[in-house]
Assembly symmetry: C2
């Protein structure tokens, strides 16, 4: 890896995952900020030079541009202590990371975006009608996490891994989308274990 530039919106949990992964690995990232609400990732320049998908985060490594938050975390952590040994445990870690992007982020992160950044009054009808379903799915995601953590300290392989980092990013701010985290004691204890690690950095750090 050469010098690394993280193209990000600093409020995004998907971007925070990468900063948290880098902090645990002692990797230095230059940061370049874009305001997603102002369409700064949909400009012709961004689409041409940074990512044709028009989304952050994107990690720039020299002249290469890597999108997708969880893939970026994998890139930074490949071969490190943040990815368990063994094919099954590696796949199990990826299972939680894919689950996060399919079952957790589109519900909890989207409700947070709509409430705290866009504002409920500014939502379209198509967005507003999805709020109930997203809340139910978000509650189901937190419930599944709480049950899983009742029997173990970390998500995979009895060790802190990218699965924990990627799930922590939007879980620890779920209260901003009106999810009551106090209802999930195992998640609370797991988050305490994460934030007290010496390498930890917060979303606003």
């Amino acid at each position: 890896m050469g010098s690394l530039i993280l193209h990000e919106d600093s409020r995004s949990g998907n971007c925070y995952k990468i900063r948290l992964t880098a902090a645990h690995l002692g990797i230095k990232l230059e940061r370049k900020n874009y305001d997603i609400l102002k369409g700064e990732t949909r400009t012709a320049e961004f689409l041409r030079d940074i990512s044709g998908n028009g989304r952050i985060p994107v990690l720039q490594d020299g002249d290469r541009y890597l999108p997708e938050s969880n893939a970026i975390c994998f890139y930074l952590a490949n071969g490190s202590k943040l990815i368990p040994d063994g094919h099954y445990d590696q796949a199990d870690m990826l299972h939680w990371m894919f689950w996060e992007q399919y079952n957790h982020e589109p519900n909890i992160a989207t409700l947070r975006l709509w409430k705290c950044m866009i504002g409920i009054d500014a939502l379209s009808d198509a967005q507003r009608i999805q709020m109930t379903g997203k809340r139910e799915n978000g509650l189901a995601a937190l419930d599944l996490m709480d049950k899983h953590l009742a029997k173990r300290k970390w998500f995979v392989a009895d060790q802190f891994s990218l699965a924990d980092i990627c799930l922590f990013a939007y879980t620890h701010v779920a209260d901003e989308a009106d999810f009551d985290l106090e209802a999930y004691p195992e998640i609370i204890h797991w988050m305490e274990r994460i934030v007290t690690m010496p390498e930890h950095v917060g979303l606003d750090d």
Copy 2:
């Protein structure tokens, strides 16, 4: 790996990915079918014994149960020719696999499910109002794929990989959701390359 059982709905592209990966690797899978439309993955037994997330596919390897289609493909292919060497190329492959689950599958696969399996007349208001957005996002996904393939034969690292398999699964049936694949000549050529490989199996094989 021991003897492997794929818990699936054989109509699902997410399950097909795994059979296609296994075919390319010469891995034998036992198959157990569930009808997702009849709620067979939401029974108390399924949630307790197979997956608390209530979805297929799940790969059973002895007494271990691995969910999430793309994580299962990674498990089967870890260390094989279907995953490129090098940390950047591995992350780039995962980038397309995460992109598939976030930008492609929730649009193209969901519209196929709604049209061909559930039926448009049976959709809820919340589903029906999302159809326009999902069509726009599905078109954008196909457009991005076509542009990417204009400069290369395979998605990543100049070699056939899991990125191609995972993107092929729902792309090749996008016409069932009324996407006109003839509008994407690069995708057509890429699909021809895939289906003429000697190891290839179809969704209905």
